[in-house]
Symmetry: C2
Subunit: 289 residues, 2 copies
Amino acid sequence: MIRRGLRVAARLGHHGALPGGPYILPTFSPASAFGSSMDSLESEFCQEKTDLKNYALPNASWCPDMLNLYHEFLEKTKADGWIRLPSFKSNRNHIQGLKLPLVLTASSDKSDCHIFTRCIKTEGQGYEYVIFFHPSKKKSVCLFQPGPYLEGPRGFAHGGSLAAMIDETFSKIAYLAGEGLFTLNLNTRFKNLIRMGSLAVLNVGVEKVEDQKLYISCIAQSTDQQTVYAKASGTFLQLQLEEDSSQYYTLCLQESLLPTALPTGTHPRAAGGVREVTGEVREKALSFA
Amino acid sequence: MIRRGLRVAARLGHHGALPGGPYILPTFSPASAFGSSMDSLESEFCQEKTDLKNYALPNASWCPDMLNLYHEFLEKTKADGWIRLPSFKSNRNHIQGLKLPLVLTASSDKSDCHIFTRCIKTEGQGYEYVIFFHPSKKKSVCLFQPGPYLEGPRGFAHGGSLAAMIDETFSKIAYLAGEGLFTLNLNTRFKNLIRMGSLAVLNVGVEKVEDQKLYISCIAQSTDQQTVYAKASGTFLQLQLEEDSSQYYTLCLQESLLPTALPTGTHPRAAGGVREVTGEVREKALSFA
């Protein structure tokens, strides 16, 4: 039963979608759970941090196509409602106050951690990317330039590096556009190779939100839109948690109880949602275990 | 028409599945195209190269679970038909003589390239993995230990890093077990987080080969098989090329002709296969373009 409870909790913490763990929100509450707009979510995520390097800024390795599109979108941030997302070394830099529960805290937590898509330090060698996000349209655009450390076949990006870039872009829009916290599925259909050092433009959008799931799609293309590199879709679980949900889930783990066996929270929509979804996810997991 | 031809050729070259490009095989012929066994394919891929570092060997960062399972499988290589696949810095080190056609050779070709899953040099920081392969069973096992540079949520591996690891494992089995050269699709269903520095065991197998496609599946689990991290499936295109197929495809590109408009090769099975499959892939691509 303990393992079962842990499995549910760990699953809820999954994965790139959430900078931290969705079930532990000691100082932060997703806005819509309390009826407000998503502004606070974005402003929290996008706040300037002068002590941290923002990897989403141009550097000398960026190809002309990437620079041009970057400046084009930067203009759109002034009037068209687009937001440039900052990109720090780790997800934990983006939103302070989120953490996994003690029972799940990894021993490697104190080591020098990097978000996977910023794992290579030298400019131009690995992932070069910047994500622009449009809150009201629930769309984002990721400008992605793979470097020579992302190789698959000679001279071209590894398919896995593109899949990971798509996953990372999905996770950010899922979190910011609809509190999508847990990736259920990622499906990538590859069409063409991306030449090393060239630009791939990932157009990402939330297709629908249904039964507390966000359905997100992506088309990755060349700058001129003449070459499709990949098409992808992903499903994210939408969870609306309460401020004290940490105690709720920590209690589950400590008491070795499934969340459904615990008292509901104070916010009807949030509490009902969590119970319903964890039940669904648990059921799925048990059918595979 | 030129672009169309390029698109077909580039697609055939995709992606981690092929160390080099599948349509340019100047000194190497996939065995089954000529009726022999797959032995030469494996021996070519697995040959010892004393001048290159083999990253698939144990190092001080490997956790006890990984070391134990490594030695268990190493024992199986002595009698049970398992093969330990070497892992060099780049795919191009595995099989000499494969290259992309001139028209597709990337300008970054001379730079210091790394296969994506060996992009982080420091032991234990990034990808630690070794793949064992069983030719007659068409199965493989990948022991994967994610380091702190592969982080997603705090203390756990990024979902994209697992997807990329699955993609890389798929591509090797696809190539060695059935000349699967082009990844058509990769679908990953995430179940649980992988704790940083712990072991995930990827059990991979070819489910079926049908209509020149390999269907491959994966279950990624904890060592004790009590926690499922992910389930995945992939589809790879099986191509049986002739020794001189490089000229065949280079000619396509130079003449701006689609492969089907060119004379067939000398080996009926191989030539027919290539034509049939490129037609199918082209059709799919055009429907998206």
